[in-house]
Symmetry: D2
Subunit: 344 residues, 4 copies
């Protein structure tokens, strides 16, 4: 199978390249980058030298008809214009950006501050949270790949929410992210000396992942769910941890919660549920497609705490995109994705 | 004034030494360390060479009668045995460890797993949260210096709690700490390669700072307050951030909250209240005695978010200890403590 | 093929496990660990959960006869006692420790401060610098896998030295290593708060890799070579960079040097030679088996500068061990080792 | 005394502000910043809130006549145009940039790629390496404050070079710097995710500090000295280490070298000479004006190794600038500069 990557010089783009090197059924046919058109990818990223030497080419919609699937690894605001052109041609796409995740154009415009794609295009994109929507994904042509925070949050919350154990009105999510999540564009906010030896809170109550999380929680719960969501920048390159809190019914124990999650995810090879008293760490999933979960039902306070970790560039972006590609093609979800975490 | 430091080779101990170099009224008379008895402090810590060359001496209670005040910078479980001997002699003490913070011996035994000091000794120690208990501190002889997390949490929560704006039953605290908070003792949990490029949740619902926070919240509120408290290890040396969440009354705005805090702390030179939309960062207080606070009253969710940052080794330990010493002696609270944060 | 790993709970041991998951011809039969005997490897390392769940077993020489090859991932001073027992039984071994690298027992005793293995055992071990000694390795039964610094240094120096371009008496090597090179044992020297935001020089002129480098340089050059070698601890987990300096003949240019190296390593898929003006970075080889080299022949000073980077845990330990296993078995050197570097 | 700071929003500028808060004789009268004209400094740098609230003003030469001394904390290429205007008015200046360090306009143009200031202005600036040129500095009106690398290198090399112990033709300098040395301007090269967990060599043989070091070595030695100088970017914010190598006469021991340096720097309170076998670390000078030195005369190789560390923002910039201001005013060199290093 032949694929193209648009926006290949961002961190999600090169992670797609890294992971696709291991994929048995896929060949990268075209690497598209507006900003580096004409260079070779190994000139922009010397770590790829002697591994992949493709030239970066400019976007040409006609040329994309040659490939079987197109990945968009572009910043917000790009695919909303380009992806509809591919939809009109029926070319399979997986969009790693936020442009097709929100079904309401108004919500997109409110939270992203950009004009949304037309409703008819938004409606065609399936939300690619692999573990939850695997059936829909398997027949999808266009995938809106989930955001990094939403992936960690939703895998952590959905089983408890669906089972009715927690009060949906009480959900607090405290997110902690490495800096690669902000992309590769140079900015004061990602300058080494500003980030190192620092934790910074940002965008409290204003993060564009809030409506994405609420839309999906509402979908699985059947009612509107509002969340309190805070984000923090952590001095590390990769990794997201979300610590989540919600009121629970008094008669549930930590072990019962763990049992519930183990059942729920028994056919989900990338979700690992920790034993009681063992807490996840981002390093334990680094470079891999795993999502690790830990739990505490604290009867002193009546609060359930859930800790969820992923590698934001893998399960939170390129890895889940490949998992979705696998599902779309009827391959095993784990095809090309069974990398052991890189530790330490 | 002459002081002694017991446990001077831990991180709080050497921070006391650093800060006391700047103090106009104090001289370090004795540096006591069981583990390095006989060495000079500059052999253990070469960064102190040509600054302070005192020999480390073993603890000798009689010798301590020569000094005006004794700092305990020891791990939990040390001062509970030694400090009573000084109380019996009426020697002023500031204890940076947790041994005299909890007024209930049972609580200490539950959360620390150690036998507590006798009630009559516990009762004599004043809890040294400088901004809140300045009056009591000014006449105290023995100070139980607050823990690092409790300092950040309590300064952030107390004005809102006392004013009745938030529901005490709804408080969630998400703590993030640099590694120096774990002390200098080598352990797998503080090994560089395990911490670097990692965020790890630990001790959820079991941290020994929970009863300390609840005791003080209960004291200022007048009723028992239970909190949900989670702690996370961050790949940095210094700094604590606590992000706090609580339900608030619908008719309060972020700006009103900020106004309330500015009023409350108008005579507290070390507490800085950020404007709406500006969030604190640990680096902005590094090496200094400041506590910076930021706020959001989110009407979508009815939750108040409070972000509080301190340098755990300064305001969370040695700096607040000196602030308390200043208060005990009738000096200005800021004496010797007006260090500008070290940035970047 | 079945292998056993002795000392599997150190960083080299778990990296062997990670890499062997990708190897098409090898199965891990036994994981041996004195310190964690009876636990499962995934209890010691939660990142391995659901990937490998083997129990750690105690060393039992008889049991090792069941496997085709034994990896020693033990600290110095262990294999010198155990490996001879396997030699007596003719069981293939690859020793990642320093015990069999030095052919002179006296040198081992001088630099390691331990009694050496008997000469007859030392003589049987082939020094496994894969690119340089591939022929000998292909027929070897016992491999002394090179140290991390020596791998980076020797791949960088040997072509220039053999070609006679540089003066062997003028070699200066400035090594910079991440902290994983010091192993997983907790110590003050690897405590996060001591390493973070710090560069520390250590063991100048006394590092045990000096005789290993000199022995190999002498072997390829045909005469004794003495080097000046300094080592520095860098606040990162993985990666080694060695910057090397030597006097060169005035009529060589940087491009000629680069040409020489490209020729020399044309059949060495893991050595990548950078273009003039492009310098290697450790991140560009992270998680991979590559060694990247950069060069400057500076005619202002008559010095050749060579920069060599590897991932110390891969090419400097477990990766090269697998590369050697591949060579010993007549497999392609790259079998199971073509991981793209993890970036960023 | 009243001072102005031009370019106050860079890292050297805010470090001047931090350090001048502690200075007993100096008041900051004007903070000049083209890029943030009109803002308050505490809006650009929230860590300064409630400490200094001055407005940033645009440069106005006439206004500068009100102050006693002007600090330039500007990037290269700014002061060469502005400082001559102040020289024409006889206003004392300390220039932290590289514009007036090289006495030869041609050298400046070669290494900086910019047109130099006129020779008559270059000639008026005294090179402010405080320990070496204290006499000249004490009567100077204009100071070219040394670069960060040159400060570490020159303090480490000069005593050995002047004493004739080392061969000036054999000097190799391996520099390692934290990222703050590159300034605050956002760039891909200082992006957190590119720097973290990485060591990168850069500008080998091309760094603009080479002619500055050679000019000063030549000045103290009396003959032209050429150096081999390599620079490496280290994942930390502050700190420079230079490891230096040179051939020495065979009859000198490490202890004799140490003795020589202790003598040489006996009246230099900011230079600390480590004992034999003890090596400096950048963290041991963090936040302070110290330069720590360590030595090895290795008789195996005939090479002397010298390790020199400074905090690049303090002794390598703002601290040394204040030290020079002290000398110019006849104050004690240590006035306002006796900060204990911040550890850890």
């Amino acid at each position: 199978m032949k694929v193209a990557i648009i926006g290949a010089t961002g961190y999600s783009g090169i992670e797609l390249i890294r992971l696709l090197q291991n994929h048995p059924y896929v060949e990268i046919e075209m690497i598209i980058s507006g900003s580096h058109d004409g260079s070779r990818i190994s000139e922009v990223y010397p770590h790829l030298e002697e591994i992949i030497d493709d030239k970066l080419v400019a976007l040409d919609i006609e040329q994309l008809e040659k490939v079987d699937l197109v990945f968009f690894a572009t910043p917000s605001g790009v695919s909303k214009n380009t992806l509809p052109l591919l939809m009109d041609r029926g070319i399979k796409c997986i969009d790693l950006s936020g442009d097709f995740r929100l079904k309401s154009p108004g919500a997109y415009e409110d939270w992203y501050g950009l004009e949304a794609a037309e409703q008819k295009y938004l409606d065609q994109a399936i939300y690619g949270l692999s573990e939850i929507y695997s059936k829909k994904i398997s027949t999808a042509t266009y995938i809106a790949n989930p955001g990094c925070y939403p992936t960690a949050v939703l895998l952590g919350l959905i089983p408890a929410l669906k089972s009715g154990i927690i009060d949906p009105g009480s959900i607090v999510i405290d997110g902690k992210s490495g800096v690669s999540g902000a992309g590769r564009k140079a900015s004061l906010g990602t300058h080494y000396a500003e980030i190192n030896e620092n934790v910074k809170a940002y965008k409290l109550g204003r993060h564009q992942h809030i409506p994405e999380i609420e839309q999906t929680l509402g979908d699985v719960y059947g009612e509107k769910v509002n969340i309190t969501f805070s984000t923090h920048l952590i001095p590390m390159s990769r990794g997201i941890m979300c610590t989540m809190y919600a009121d629970f019914q008094q008669d549930v124990t930590t072990d019962e919660i763990i049992h519930l999650y183990k059942e729920y995810y028994q056919n989900s090879p990338f979700v690992r549920v920790r034993k009681s008293g063992i807490w996840p760490a981002t390093k334990e999933v680094a470079g891999s497609n795993y999502c690790d979960l830990g739990f505490l039902a604290d009867h002193r306070t009546g609060k359930l705490s859930i800790v969820s970790v992923i590698d934001n560039v893998v399960k939170g972006a390129a890895g889940q995109a490949i998992q979705n590609m696998n599902l779309m093609n009827g391959w095993k979800a784990t095809t090309g994705l069974l990398m052991t975490p890189v530790y330490p």
